[in-house]
Amino acid sequence: MSASPIVNDLVIRFANVNGTGSASANGLFAKAVFRMGIPVSPKNIFPSNIQGLPTWYEVRVSEKGYLGRREGLDIVVSVNPQSMPQDVRSVREEGYFLYDNTKPLDIRLQRNDIHYIGLPLTRICLAEYRDPRQRLLFKNMIYIGALAALLDIDFSVLKNLVQDQFQGKEKLIAPNIHALELGCQYALEHFDCPLGLRLEKRDLVGDRILMDGNAAVGLGAIYAGATVAAWYPITPSTSVVDSFDKYCKRLRIDAGSGARKYAIIQAEDELAAMGMVIGASWNGARAFTATSGPGVSLMSEFLGLAYFAEVPAVLVDVQRAGPSTGMPTRTQQSDILAAAYASHGDTRHVLLIPATPKECFDMMAEAFDLAERLQTPVILLSDLDLGMNDHVCDPLSWPDDRVYDRGKVLDAEQLDELERYGRYLDVDEDGICYRTIPGAHPTRGAFFTRGSSKNEFAIYTESDEDYAKNMDRLVRKWNTAKSMVPEPIFYPRSEPCRIGVIFFGTSTASTLEAIERLAEESIRVEGLRLRAVPFSEDVERFIEEHEEVFLVEQNRDAQMRTLLVNELGVNPQRLHAILHYDGMPITARFIQQTIQSQLASADTPAMDQVAEGGR
């Protein structure tokens, strides 16, 4: 063992079998690290399967607060014989391999450059439990207990977590703590604890929380006053509506009558889900749907109608690797163009791109205000990594004096004062007209909603002049939107920089880490994080002000670059794409190495020489 231990800087991977209850035990581990005040970043690497296939849970612990994924596994906990050969190979040199040594290790799995830690998990369980289900479940708690000793996790933290987890099911607390103790005791008796790689209590997370993005989106919808959710199940977005449902049951049921102040409709498909959202929004409710790429494809016709008919709608796209029979459980940022220009005819949509659960919450709430102010669909572009993994982020907050912005809606009184109401009349010259909600007034304000064959008074026409006029007004509205959407975030350096890097969404943590690592090697890079489409002038300025501009994306075709080039008229040669698209979250090392190698080459690569990435 090394004389100077590595403290609070490790990556541990748990190799389990899907459907064996490992998720809650592994989650317990991550949460224990978090409660010890150390920044932690867990990631699920799971198959599209309910039971039986290999699944992994990777936890990065970083004293420096780096929350992106990191290569190099320091510890692998192997509980799945099926993936054992691959798991052994995945341990870094001098790393640790924890395995069930009830049966002796296959000689072919012996490596000389790693440490083996054998735990007789099956044997302990056979001796301790009679029920086969318990033997399976408690195995997970036993290895967590062993890790507590090996990594020096505060045992009281684990105990408290178990107590919190089984609130209301108190009977389960003692047996779970007992299982933890079994593992802990075994490790203490058989190994030199703790290892050279260990944890120490810190106070580095402050008041931050550990939450997944989809839960935050669902909660954001609650706070935004959404009352109708229409959806069709699809990984990885399903837990958005699950979260909305969970919080609705807690916060939106009338205590006296049991009546619900919300409607969740599981639609027959994504087309119907979008239709329901549009129907409900048209009728004055705040409504949303959550889906992933295949759903966006199906919703596209309706999105175009909503764009032209100017009906507010909120759509959450939790992106995954394409296509329909693609890799639904792997992450990507590959719906950018599909979302930005969804539908036929000239359409463009407002996109909001969160990077943390806190932003998922804030932007979901913002999405409803924007959709109603702009009377158009707003798409929240999340992804599997953000949506389905826990992230350390700032606590959520809601200013109690915040008032929903329902946009330009005329009520009966205002209608009475008008000489003539025109649904598509640009009174304020910002491209946004006044809408009315069905039932507002007995004789005024009713209109017939349709796509584009209409004049400013919503009267049917196929006049070329009226059509073009309406299209031009929609551009005016788009320009108004530029000042309303969240600004990009600039990460400046004190000294002047010729290199800039643009990134967004779940590439954020890894890009910021790469910027720091590059600085350590005297390569100074400034960053700009995109948070919305349409782009503001700040994006143009950032590109202009830096000689070399890199753009980090988790897709193959540099979709954000296409969007920047198209929307801003940027010279494509000015944007060097760093592309990562194997379905795993991008890492800082990948970004750092790509930037360095591109800078090192005599000419910085042009458009046809984008860096492409695996792991």
């Binding site: 009352t227 939106r252 009558s257 619900r260 102040k261 087309l271 048209w282 209109f447």
Partner: protein
């Protein structure tokens, strides 16, 4: 020919209980072909709404795409309308109905819209029991694209262009019955005496109410050999019985011979009186209704009138147990839990 409707209205036009004349329920002039069955249906909707004193602005009209789906422009001009996407009216109506349970929803669709591209949405709107009147203006062909056969065309039916349909028809009435619809009727655009009370009852019914209206396409499917022509339907139509809709506050005056008359009270206190002409049909029994449909079909006849009605069916809002106040009228204080609750949630995530 002028396309302007005169603004003049006779001062002595009959007014309904709300003081509205029929004019208040009319809208733009139709641009459909002269003699189109759909225009008769629009007129029947106007009459039904006027006579039952529905506030015009408390109705929302929703439609898909096709000749039928254009018609909401031609009735109830003081109601909001939404001409949506082909075959997707049911989902828009479902969302709208979820948002505000107090309005009356009239969905207008056609045979292409509901029996082909939108058959999935049609089926699920039935299954969900959305509280709406669902009018199918059924002419057996695609009028807007010049007369192709639709999925409701009978085997052997000949289009104006001379093609003979060889595929089995989809009967939306049978389908709705099978799917559990609580109000199912079939009518004929040329029989306003039957259609108007059916529309009134369908609107009063709580839950999904289908009226499949055979509505001949005068341009593409009113020729000899077509089974959706005026002549063919008149010759082959058989009705379940005479039908009256009696609003809650009106005295029942109609007289029926004893034994063959049924009275059904609706949830709002209004009632339906049905004088049966055929003792083999009981419109309050789903199996009997399905059986009768099959029997008539086998004998080459078209059964019209009220085919089935179940006043105890639970509509979408009842099933979801949504609050009585329409969701779109809940205020921020009803909906937003505030920062204190959020801080508790934060604590649970630490």
């Amino acid at each position: 020919m002028t396309y302007l409707r005169p603004a003049f209205a006779h001062p002595d036009l009959p007014r309904n209980e709300l003081g509205y004349t029929r004019k208040d329920y009319e809208s733009a002039l139709s641009t459909l072909c002269a003699g189109c069955g759909h225009d008769s249906i629009s007129a029947a909707v106007v009459q039904a709404c006027h006579e039952t004193s529905i506030e015009p602005h408390k109705v929302a009209k929703v439609s898909g795409i096709g000749c039928s789906s254009k018609t909401p422009t031609y009735f109830l001009g003081n109601s909001h309308g939404f001409n949506s996407v082909h075959g997707r009216m049911p989902s828009v109506a479902t969302g709208a109905a979820a948002a505000n349970r107090e309005l009356t929803y009239i969905g207008v669709s056609g045979d292409g819209d509901s029996a082909s591209i939108g058959i999935g949405q049609f089926a699920h709107a039935v299954r969900r029991n959305v509280n709406m009147l669902y009018l199918v203006e059924n002419n057996g062909c695609y009028g807007l694209t010049k007369g192709q056969d639709s999925a409701t065309a009978e085997v052997g039916s000949r289009s104006k262009a001379g093609s003979v349909n060889q595929l089995a028809p989809i009967d939306l009435v049978s389908m709705a019955l099978e799917l559990g619809a609580g109000f199912v009727a079939r009518s004929f655009s040329g029989d306003k005496a039957q259609l108007v009370p059916l529309i009134k009852a369908a609107i009063a019914h709580r839950g999904f109410a289908l009226i499949d209206v055979i509505s001949p396409c005068v341009t593409f499917n009113n020729n000899p050999g077509s089974t959706k022509s005026y002549d063919y339907v008149r010759e082959h139509m058989n009705t379940t019985g005479h039908f009256d809709f009696v609003p809650m506050h009106q005295e029942i005056t109609a007289q029926y011979p004893p034994g063959s008359s049924k009275e059904v009270t609706l949830h709002d206190g209004s009632s339906v009186h049905l004088h049966k002409l055929d003792d083999t049909i009981d419109p309050l029994d789903r199996r009997s209704a399905l059986h009768a449909l099959q029997e008539y079909k086998a004998s080459g006849k078209i059964l019209t009138g009220l085919i089935f009605m179940d006043e105890d069916s639970q509509d979408m809002h009842q099933v979801m147990n949504t609050c009585n106040k329409p969701l779109n009228q809940l205020t921020q204080s009803d909906l937003c839990p505030g920062n204190r609750v959020l801080q508790d949630i934060n604590d649970s995530l630490r």
